[in-house]
């Protein structure tokens, strides 16, 4: 190389006032049957995304019947009174409509994206899906078998396994959060057509449902479509179901899930976090960005760029209506599992011991405010954001005030958030890895007792 472009040393961005941006305007209406309708007009391309959000998440599962919420949501697309599952899929897809139904902890959601010219036909089908699901026995048995296949696969898949078992070891036994979102072998086996029908009748109610439409559609047109598709739906909202978020134990422990000869250890460290609708959401979010949320976070720079222990190391709060987990997650070469855990713990101690630097703080706040418009380029992303608003009962001006709220965060509020919402004394550590390599070093760390489990989470002697 000879010639080099004339670039000034350290090309720092010159702060310039960003062009004005606002989150898409939206309107909310309550329909005669109690459904909420939220519409954001996004005329950029001839597309629309519809999210139907139903208060029928996995927290509503009965004790011993975990997995009912997810199976019920998936069964909606497996046939109506008019069409069997294959016909229904074909009808949606010949309209070019992509459609998915699922249930997470807090809600069931059907998400559909299609070209606007096909929206009326797609909406009519959607009405059938929600109002006249057939819940055919054969399709249910097939979905149950597919769930059992997923659970079987999980035993050999260290990443998913570590996530699942981390939750199991974190929450008090009996908490819905301690059991798999989609149910386990025992609970899924017990679910039959009757339990799905009853779950549908109890939780799928017009009154507990929000329809979000984002795309090249006016609210009047959307209301007409929703009214035609869902107008006959009835039912008043029921009380929300709450999960027990108490931790399983007060002292620290290492939960070592045995995977002989694993070349890497999947590592999780964390504790019960805070709910999404928490007054300290913003300082906690900025604090986490610096601890392990960004590529240039302390944990990733330490474990990846300084030590080359891993391809990536991150931390995060899982945001639910109630306190989801806070977790540091990474996969590291087996023989340095203890060293990697020590460095991650060191970074937690450090962010709790002294305030972050002004430079670090501005990295996180500039990033979070700057990427804000980039997060909402698509109708899918806008509809999902509006669903979050409804689900967590955030203020209507939440997105308008978001960047101001981030910009108002100070080093002191980050420091306070680290001290208040990170509690190393309560950490649980999960390692899915090779016991011959990792057990002795983990014991030598004196983090807590090292308990051994098989891949189903059953204690080993």
């Amino acid at each position: 190389m000879t010639a080099v472009p004339a670039v000034e040393r350290a090309p720092r961005p010159v702060p310039a006032p960003p062009r004005e941006y606002h989150f898409p305007r939206f309107e909310r209406r309550t329909l005669a049957n109690g459904m909420q309708l939220v519409v954001a007009r996004v005329p950029k391309l001839p597309l629309a995304t519809v999210v139907v959000l139903i208060d029928a998440g996995a927290v509503c599962d009965a004790d011993g019947a975990e997995g009912t919420a997810q199976l019920t949501a998936k069964m909606l697309l497996e046939g109506t009174d008019s069409y069997d599952g294959a016909e229904l899929a074909e009808r949606f897809e010949r309209l070019g409509a992509s459609i998915e139904a699922s249930a997470d902890w807090d809600a069931a959601a059907i998400t559909m994206t299609t070209l606007v010219e096909r929206l009326p036909d797609a909406f009519d089908l959607l009405g059938d899906v929600l109002l006249t699901p057939a819940f055919r026995e054969r399709e249910l048995e097939r979905l149950k078998a597919e769930r059992l296949a997923e659970l079987l696969q999980l035993r050999a898949e260290p990443r998913g396994l570590a996530d699942e078992l981390f939750a199991k070891f974190l929450y008090i036994p009996g908490s819905r959060y301690a059991r798999s979102e989609g149910g386990d072998e025992a609970s899924v086996e017990r679910i039959d057509r009757q339990s799905v029908v009853e779950f549908y009748q109890r939780r799928y109610l017009a009154g507990g449902t929000t329809v979000v439409v984002a795309g090249d559609v006016t609210i009047d047109r959307a209301e007409g479509l929703v009214d035609r598709a869902f107008g006959k739906w009835e039912g008043r909202a029921r009380e929300r179901v709450l999960a027990d978020t108490r931790p399983a134990r007060r002292d620290r422990a290492v939960h070592l899930v045995v995977k002989p000869d694993a070349p890497q250890s999947e590592l999780r460290i964390g504790h019960v976090g805070i709910p999404r609708n928490h007054p300290d959401f913003f300082p906690v979010n900025v604090m986490n960005a610096l601890l392990g949320g960004l590529f240039n976070s302390r944990i990733n720079l330490n474990l990846r760029e300084a030590h080359a222990y891993t391809y990536g190391a991150f931390s995060g709060f899982e945001w639910r209506r109630q306190a989801g987990p806070f977790v540091i997650h990474t996969a590291v070469k087996s023989d340095i599992t203890d060293a990697a855990a020590r460095e991650a713990l060191f970074e937690v101690d450090r962010i709790r011991a002294e305030a972050v630097t002004p430079d670090e703080l501005s990295l996180a706040t500039n990033y979070l405010t700057g990427v804000f418009p980039i997060r909402f380029e698509t109708t899918t992303a806008i509809a999902a954001a509006l669903a979050v608003l409804s689900l967590h009962e955030l203020p209507e001006d939440y997105y308008d005030r978001y960047r101001d709220n981030v910009a108002a965060i100070t080093r002191e509020s980050v420091f306070a958030a680290a001290q208040r919402y990170l509690d190393p004394a309560a950490f649980q550590m999960v390692v899915v890895g090779d016991p011959n390599t990792v057990r002795a070093p983990l014991e030598a760390m004196q983090f807590g007792p090292v308990l051994l489990y098989d891949v189903q989470g059953k204690p080993l002697a």
């Binding site: 190389m1 010639a3 080099v4 472009p5 670039v7 040393r9 350290a10 090309p11 961005p13 960003p18 062009r19 941006y21 950029k44 391309l45 001839p46 597309l47 599952g85 294959a86 899929a89 074909e90 897809e93 070019g96 992509s98 299609t114 070209l115 097939r142 078998a145 597919e146 059992l148 296949a149 997923e150 079987l152 696969q153 050999a156 260290p158 990443r159 694993a262 070349p263 890497q264 240039n296 720079l301 990846r304 760029e305 080359a308 891993t310 391809y311 996969a331 070469k333 990295l363 500039n366 990033y367 405010t369 700057g370 990427v371 418009p373 980039i374 909402f376 380029e377 698509t378 899918t380």
Partner: protein, 437 residues
């Protein structure tokens, strides 16, 4: 939907595509270098990808890790990726920050080597080895991405070897390799730059010229060998891989027309008929009706040189052995060859592809990436505006011609994953062996 596109070429050969869209104050910058794992010299498998990591380690005027920091501090997202034929680098930022992205990209294109050190290389080598462990070695079925091309392309073909690379080759790579690879392939005449979103074209061109203009043109790039292959394998290739898995899984590959050729589109539609979403043929037959599969999908590698691969990917239901899974899939493919596809199936596939395409064009980053793709492979980013029409023009007869020509027994390659304990004795531990059938 018509996307505005303007193209330019700098004196040094850099090809530039611009696509304005002022709906949001966002701009995407996207660079494709026409180099991938196919260009790796012997004994250096995985080097193109390791080199991609090195591009985030700073350049003459940028400190290590500063690239990430500067873009994120500016409120942008960024990444890079390596594929068989190309390596790409991209940022999406607030539109005011266009110059930052251009400066960073130009600085590493023009002056990477002053920042390269042995320590950085050693660190990234270990990071990449951990990426390999994470994505392949400690992941059920993770080795498919290196075993399938190895099975489908002849040993001397540039698509044959592993993109992620062997641990031995990664260990062997040195700073001299970095210097040579950079000088050979990371030149303006071997790259395309695309900018999409909210910018002023005159200003953008001025900035591009200012930052990229002084970078000298490269020397001669070693040509790839002839990539063309016969239209079919000429046999049914087969490999059984005993792995730490709970369920058998079959990757059934067919040699298919190169990406972007006229013959590619019927092949792509055929893939969507077989494996795209819930109404696809394999889902209906193998998951719903026969109840032998837990999951099915189909996809193309989208290789633009020589020939592409169409791949059907099917995971067994618990209790269904690998041999039965393979037979059931073969019966479906045989039925397809015998009876062909219907108009309704073509209509479904094209409608879904159209919605997906329009949907993806909402994102500035995706528009820029597609401009770079068509510029790199065909020198013509305007192909982006022809995509939907090309798919809509596909006829049932064309798909059926493709099916007859390419899905027969003389053009199949089965990569079969089985649980270690279920593997036939003589195969255990010899996963790399291919056998014919």
């Amino acid at each position: 939907m018509r996307i505005p596109i303007e193209t330019f070429r700098l004196q040094n050969g850099l090809f530039v595509s611009l696509s304005e869209d002022h709906t949001a104050p966002i701009v995407a910058v996207n660079l494709w270098y026409h180099v991938g794992s196919a260009n790796e010299p012997t004994g250096r498998t995985g080097f193109a990808h390791l080199f991609e990591h090195m591009l985030f380690q700073g350049s003459a005027d940028v400190q290590a890790n500063e690239h990430f920091e500067l873009v994120q501090r500016a409120g942008g997202t960024l990444n890079g990726s390596t594929w068989l034929e190309r390596t790409n680098y991209f940022e999406t930022l607030p539109s005011k920050q266009l110059e930052l992205a251009l400066r960073l990209e130009a600085n590493r294109m023009g002056a990477l080597l002053p920042a390269m050190t042995q320590q950085k290389l050693d660190t990234q080598r270990d990071v990449v080895k951990n990426e390999r462990r994470w994505s392949m070695d400690n992941q059920p079925y993770g080795s498919w991405l290196e075993k399938l091309p190895a099975l489908c392309f002849p040993a001397e073909h540039p698509f044959h070897h592993s993109l992620m690379g062997s641990m031995e080759d990664l260990t062997a790579a040195g700073l001299d390799d970095v210097a040579q690879f950079f000088a050979t392939f990371y030149t303006p005449d071997n790259a395309v730059l695309s900018i999409a979103g909210d910018f002023d074209r005159t200003e953008a061109l001025r900035l591009v010229e200012r930052h990229f203009g002084p970078i000298p043109r490269g020397g001669r790039k070693p040509p790839l060998p002839d990539m063309s292959l016969p239209p079919v394998f000429g046999q049914w290739k087969r490999e059984v891989v005993p792995d730490d898995v709970m369920l058998p899984r079959l990757f059934l590959a067919f040699r298919s027309p190169a990406f972007g050729t006229d013959a590619y589109y019927p092949a792509s539609v055929c893939g969507a008929i077989l494996g795209l979403r819930n109404g696809s043929r394999l889902k209906r037959r193998l998951v719903r009706e026969r109840e032998v599969a837990a999951e099915t999908t189909a996809f193309t590698f989208d290789l633009a040189k020589g020939s592409d691969l169409l791949v059907v990917d099917v995971t067994a239901r618990p209790g269904v052995p690998a041999e039965q899974l393979e037979q059931e899939v073969a019966l479906e493919i045989d039925a397809l060859v015998r009876d062909g596809v219907t108009d309704a199936e073509v209509e479904r596939a094209v409608a879904l592809i159209q919605t997906m395409f329009v949907s993806s064009m909402q994102e500035a980053g995706e528009r820029a990436d597609k401009l770079s793709l068509f510029a790199t492979y065909f020198g013509d980013p305007n192909r982006l505006n022809e995509e939907v029409d090309r798919y809509r023009a596909v006829t049932t007869a064309q798909v059926n011609d493709f099916v007859v020509e390419r899905l027969g027994e003389n053009n199949r390659a089965s990569l079969v994953y089985v649980a270690r304990e279920d593997a036939p004795g003589e195969l255990v531990g010899s996963g790399a062996e291919a056998e014919e059938r």
